[in-house]
Symmetry: C2
Subunit: 201 residues, 2 copies
């Protein structure tokens, strides 16, 4: 699909038909998701692709889907044939920047005014969401509360140094109730894009 | 351009011909960059698009380009006709999650185990980099050291509550010396994509 069309067709989908996703399509999506940039090419990113029905139903429980459905939304997680847990490792970045070509001449550890593991995690997330659309599928993204992440980590054996940053659901879209947030609309372009100076048009 | 081709053609380009970027193309790129997801549709992202020659040369100085060129790289920033400063606002997210539809029933402020302003900033960055390729241009990304961000903030009047997370350079690609990091290669797929459990194939 044309890039511009992929970007403009993408939206968060929170209900799926349950029809399974073909393995080849899923492999293409995951292959795209790992092609984002990373600071120092640290590639401190990882994904756990969950397709086992029992694990998915446990994840739906961890994400408090019954409470969500009580608020008259569709069963988002349990209708999605694929859950992808997106993870980042700060430690991988710190290790990379201690290698000879990255170490500071002063020997001092690098300051990280911006935690690039999260930024690069966002790049990977964006690719994953777009790749789903390109594959004729739909995707959604959700986060968990801190206790949910503890449970998810235990369920999927995610190591200590790896931090899950959220879940992507993949599948064929079914009609869903849109998030109320969408009604806010896109912010005016002039508030988002400044020219030469902040506030400049 | 086809989405898959855009993703696979993208690489960090650190030297440009200096040929200016057409305003219509730049407008399309920036329009794409703001179409990423954001938690609660907070849209706490902003860009400062710098095309003024004097500002760009000051930014090249702030980014220590002379030192970079001494290490036998090309003049990355001063050859790029467009610099885009990518910014995020944590405060915008916190304000959004105090609105009635997002406030917790307990009244307690939301915990942010993951700082989504950085993740969403990464989504916007990814779209910006891909949109450049789709427009027939090339893009690069660089960060500054903490003191550099202080100077950049002052130069471009970036408000206190907004955090610059890095700079994207845009232009027509010229031959450049590749970053040594690229020689590391992509991590094996099995280390990046796990199935059902961490370590699962």
């Amino acid at each position: 699909m044309e890039f511009a069309k992929v970007v403009r067709s993408r939206r968060m989908v929170r209900h799926y038909t349950g029809e399974p996703v073909a393995e080849e399509g899923l492999a293409r999506i995951m292959d795209t998701a790992r092609r984002g940039p990373s600071a120092g090419f640290s590639q401190g990113l990882a994904f756990v692709v969950v397709t086992e029905a029992d694990l998915r139903s446990k994840i739906a429980h961890i994400a408090e889907e019954p409470e969500y459905v009580r608020r008259r939304f569709e069963p988002w997680l349990s209708s999605a044939p694929v859950h992808v847990v997106c993870c980042v490792s700060e430690a991988a970045y710190r290790r990379r920047y201690e290698e000879p070509d990255k170490r500071k001449p002063s020997g001092k550890p690098r300051a990280w005014p911006v935690p690039y593991w999260y930024v690069d995690g966002g790049c990977a997330l964006m690719l994953l969401l777009l790749a789903a659309v390109d594959e004729g599928l739909a995707a959604g993204f959700l986060d968990l509360d801190p206790q949910g992440y503890v449970q998810l980590r235990r369920l999927l054996d995610i190591p200590e140094e790896v931090v899950p940053i959220g879940l992507v659901t993949l599948g064929y879209p079914a009609p869903d109730r849109r998030s109320g947030s969408v009604a806010r609309g896109l912010r005016p372009l002039g508030e988002v894009v400044h020219r030469n100076h902040w506030g400049g048009a």
